[in-house]
């Protein structure tokens, strides 16, 4: 037996911060691992990678990465990252946050960042509820499912995140689960090269909250349910892929969109060159 002296990713993580805050059966450790694997393969120097988040369980991911990391206020990771990217376009800025952070409190910022085609990679882990505050429902909670604040079942329709991102003009759109780590890593790696707004939704279990409220005995059972309910369909019609697994509907995964569209930073630099070069 050989003794392990270092964590295999010790260059990329802050070892002194472990163990992490997440619950047993949570998918966020896998998500961090996938991000770091993609980062290693990206060819972009580690110093240029920056992680920004809002508030929530997912928003704690940056704190474990050995990068310049920014844990901001609830819902405001995207505008913070927008300012940082514009100020220093050499940075590869990734916003990694939860569904509640990015689409409930921060929804307005999401639609505008995507519309601008801002040069940011956004990884949204969707666990169908507010995990950190004890499992209340949000805009991604599936219909009829239970949560700490929908004890009689949720009556609100959900957001279809890839459909929203695509409709707003994002350059890249994908959806995976933490039970698809290879596909997810590849997707993050691809998205790191995208000019403009890249969006990846990652379904992730929340065993003590959403899982418990909806009859899953542990994280593994919840993950297994998502895996079995999933089909990969890269050319899916995005308007049809809202998530409704408790009524027999498949969860559609895939790399849905990868298109060239002028990005904000490209257009801003063209504007500055024109103003400074041509005079007025």
């Amino acid at each position: 037996m050989t003794e392990v002296e270092y964590h295999p990713k010790h260059e990329l993580i802050r070892e002194e911060r472990f163990p992490h805050v997440w619950c047993p059966g949570c998918g966020l450790g896998i998500e961090l691992q996938c991000y770091l694997n993609a980062l290693e393969k990206s060819g972009i120097p580690q110093n240029n990678h920056v992680l920004v988040s809002g508030i929530g369980c997912t928003a704690r991911i940056p704190g474990y990465a050995n990068l310049d990391t920014y844990h901001t206020t609830h819902g405001r990771g995207l505008p913070f990252a927008t300012g940082m990217k514009i100020a220093n376009p050499d940075l590869k800025v990734t916003v990694i946050s939860g569904d509640g952070d990015l689409f409930n409190i921060g929804g307005n910022h999401f639609i505008h960042a995507a519309r601008r085609n801002m040069d940011l990679l956004v990884i949204c882990s969707n666990n169908f509820n507010y995990g950190m505050t004890g499992g209340q429902h949000g805009s991604t909670t599936p219909l009829t499912s239970k949560s700490a604040s929908t004890p009689y079942g949720n009556i609100e329709p959900t957001f279809n995140l890839p459909y929203i991102a695509s409709a707003l003009g994002a350059s890249y759109v994908a959806r995976w689960t933490v039970m698809h780590p290879r596909q997810l890593t590849k997707s993050i790696r691809t998205a790191m090269d995208v000019k403009g707004f890249a969006f990846i939704e990652v379904l992730s279990p929340c065993p003590p909250n959403f899982g418990k409220f909806n009859g899953f005995k542990d994280g593994f059972e919840e993950m297994e349910f998502y895996r079995k309910s999933s089909v990969v369909q890269n050319d899916a019609k995005l308007e049809d892929i809202s998530i409704d697994p408790f009524h027999g509907k498949d969860i559609v995964l895939g790399d849905f969109v990868n298109r060239k569209r002028a990005s904000y930073i490209t257009l801003e630099h063209e504007l500055i060159d024109r103003i400074r070069g041509g005079g007025q």
Partner: protein
């Protein structure tokens, strides 16, 4: 044009605030249109691309405040401009700037309130919001210009204070000063003291993101290899979150003391005929200009009255107010609100302090203030 060339200009306050910021090194502006500060945003949209800076109109004031903090951490001196309703929306992220020690400048051009109030007319109802607006303890720095010249000069000073004390600094102007047109004199660039940002790039051993044993530690700019964690949670010197009361104590006392210990360097005020005065009128911003006239008229009648004008609303000019309280039996505090700064004057002076309430929408009439001076001294 890079910098506004030296010379005399006939300009308004919003022009002066914008050009002052550019002189101070502002290269990033994020904002959302709002009366009466929109001219700052508009001029920034012309000026910043000219000098290779960055301008972005955000989706709201919450985003604007977040963006200028992001830009500052990305290495740019940054600012936003707003008024009452927008300033309310910025409060949470002003706190983010405080706890992460991020320098930036927030211009709040006060108008009538509460709520939408009177958007196009003057008010001074945000004074306490610049002090207590964001939750938790903080030691704010707020400048209140009363002229076009001061709008230019104090904007530079606000940027310098933001860089020195590493926190968001507020410039609380008002609708009248912003839209007032008068003489602005701009000196040669080399005659201005501009605090340049010093940043740390690489990290030595266990060097922290912060050092709570020192008042000032240079920040790091993203992407230079420092690999630090910047956190809205209470954090230790490493930048790592903590739930410990002892860490909160260490961090918070550092955040407060770096300003409190240096109050003498930060506090600015103007005095007018206070040497022998038995009554002192305390006024800031546009109200001080009515007060000055009232004091001049009262002096013609032989009344011993003077004016004390805080230029920094916060930190409160405590020492000087206490001294003035020894010589004068009473203070009068006219404000375009229903009693805000008067509370602090009363608290610090522990002297009879009469409030004068003026509703938002108009500059106080000097004759009303004069009558009050006469009533007190005759």
């Amino acid at each position: 044009m890079n910098f506004l060339p030296p010379g005399k200009y006939f300009a308004d306050g919003n022009f002066a605030l914008t050009e002052g910021a550019i002189h101070a090194g502002c290269r990033f502006f994020a904002g959302y249109p709002i009366t009466p500060s929109s001219e700052v945003l508009e001029r920034m949209s012309i000026r910043l691309p000219e000098i290779g800076g960055h301008f972005i109109e955000m989706e709201d004031e919450i985003a604007s405040m977040a963006a200028i903090l992001g830009a500052s951490n990305g290495g740019s001196k940054s600012m936003t401009a707003t008024s009452g309703p927008g300033f309310s929306l910025m409060q949470e992220n002003i706190g983010l700037g405080v706890i992460t020690e991020t320098p930036t400048v927030v211009l709040d051009e006060m108008r009538g309130g509460p709520s939408t109030g009177i958007p196009t007319r003057v008010g001074q109802g945000d004074v306490m919001q610049t002090r207590w607006g964001s939750h938790g303890d903080l030691a704010p720095i707020t400048y209140a210009p009363n002229s076009v010249q001061e709008s230019f000069d104090l904007e530079i000073e606000a940027f310098n204070a933001a860089e020195t004390y590493r926190q968001p600094v507020i410039v609380a102007s008002d609708q009248v000063v912003g839209h007032l047109t008068e003489i602005l004199e701009v000196k040669n660039m080399e005659d201005y003291h501009i605090v340049q940002r010093e940043t740390r790039k690489t990290r030595n051993g266990n060097e922290g993101v912060y050092d709570y044993s020192r008042d000032f530690t240079p920040m790091f700019a993203a992407g230079t290899g420092f690999r630090g964690n910047v956190d809205s949670l209470t954090h230790d010197e490493r930048g790592y979150p903590s739930n410990e009361s002892s860490v909160e104590k260490e961090m918070l006392e550092h955040l407060l003391n770096k300003v409190r210990k240096n109050e003498d360097k930060i506090v600015k005020y103007e005095e007018f005929l206070v040497e022998d005065s038995k009554l002192v009128v305390v006024a800031y911003g546009i109200t001080s200009r009515s007060v000055k006239r009232a004091v001049k008229e009262a002096r013609k009648e032989g009344l011993k009255v003077g004016m004390f004008r805080p230029i920094t609303l916060w930190p409160f000019p405590e020492k000087r107010i206490r001294q003035l309280a020894e010589q004068s039996k009473e203070f009068i505090v006219p404000e375009i609100n229903y009693g805000q700064y008067s509370h602090s004057v009363r608290e610090y002076s522990q002297t009879e302090t009469k409030e004068m309430h003026f509703p938002p929408g108009a500059v106080p009439d000097y004759r009303v203030i004069l009558k009050e001076i006469e009533r007190c001294l005759k």
